[in-house]
Subunit: 204 residues, 2 copies
């Protein structure tokens, strides 16, 4: 495909198409379509898109406490003294924080692992922000850890591993109720399903 | 949706999501997914994407003869003296040129209209590069004009309009054979269908 693209497209368009193909869910056809759309789009729109890409990469850091993405460290949730400091909800990705915040039923803190354990993909505890979670629990009194990893194989394995490590530390460990549809992604759950799952969380 | 995005996302991420939503075929969900992918992507990849966007916008011009997109004017096809200067294939978009070049059955020149006539959308002849096509035909001896607009309502209407204007100028006007599936887009046709359509082109 690459040689074909280079043969028929102006070089700078081919370069953009190649960069777009690297993005998830974008194949050669949609990359070409996007490139041609951007070719006809107002100069300002394309400049805004390019600048927002660079700006995001420059400004976004991980919160040094919860590892959520943020522009200031600590992040607004960790810095909010009105939030329940005794509860930590453990999620795989920053998007999961957004899904949970949308329910308006949780007022505790978060911990973002940035992935799940996966022997198949060679992802072990040292590849995730798991050690930092244990440190948090040891340094600061925590009443409850809510495991909100995805309701799939890797998420369940991660929850199992975390509960085995955390329960001996004397902390209450719960898991989101399996009102969540199995095999899916947490971020796709609707607010009501997520709210039910929060309310029905159970001891591990 | 916008206010929700702003509420839960860091501002710079929300800005990128908003820019991505403006792109065709990208909704709020896939825009978030793309933004988070780019957040985790290597800095160099994001920088390359941003630069290729700006570079394309800076470097690409329309060929002053055929109005195809190009980095140098005239474009490589117009500048190629080995191509058959007596034939002009009229297409709606630059992507259509690529689709036709891929067949390897056409060695003439092109003329890119950058759209099709559409009374519904208020697109008339003056909104397309139609006047420039008539000028080309008047200034330079042309044996045949091949109308390769899309096989749909607007493309057919455009072909009809062009043939009515061009035939009185004494030029042979043909249309791609309707081996093309109706209602579709020319750029989605496979090479064989497009080759057949080229071979079976008929007088209008």
């Amino acid at each position: 495909m690459r040689s074909e693209i280079e043969r028929y497209l102006p070089r700078v368009v081919a370069r953009l198409v190649e960069e777009l193909i690297k993005l998830p869910g974008i194949g050669p056809k949609s990359a070409s379509r996007l490139a041609y759309y951007l070719l006809h789009a107002p100069e300002e729109q394309v400049r805004d898109l390019a600048e927002s890409l660079l700006e995001m990469k420059e400004r976004i850091v991980l919160c040094s406490r919860c590892f959520n993405i943020t522009e200031q460290d600590p992040c607004p949730i960790c810095a909010d003294e009105n939030r329940d400091q005794s509860r930590i909800c453990v999620v795989e990705q920053p998007l999961d924080v957004i899904a949970l915040e949308r329910t308006d039923r949780y007022r505790g803190l978060y911990h973002v692992l940035h992935g799940a354990l996966s022997p198949v993909e060679g992802i072990g505890p040292e590849d995730l922000h798991i050690g930092e979670l244990f440190t948090r629990v040891r340094l600061q009194p925590v009443e409850e850890i809510i495991l909100a990893t995805n309701p799939n194989l890797e998420g369940d394995a991660t929850a199992m591993y975390l509960s085995q490590q955390l329960i001996p530390l004397g902390v209450r460990v719960t898991r989101l109720a399996h009102g969540l549809p199995m095999g899916g992604d947490l971020e796709y759950a609707d607010e009501i399903t997520l709210s039910r799952a929060l309310e029905g969380r159970r001891e591990m």
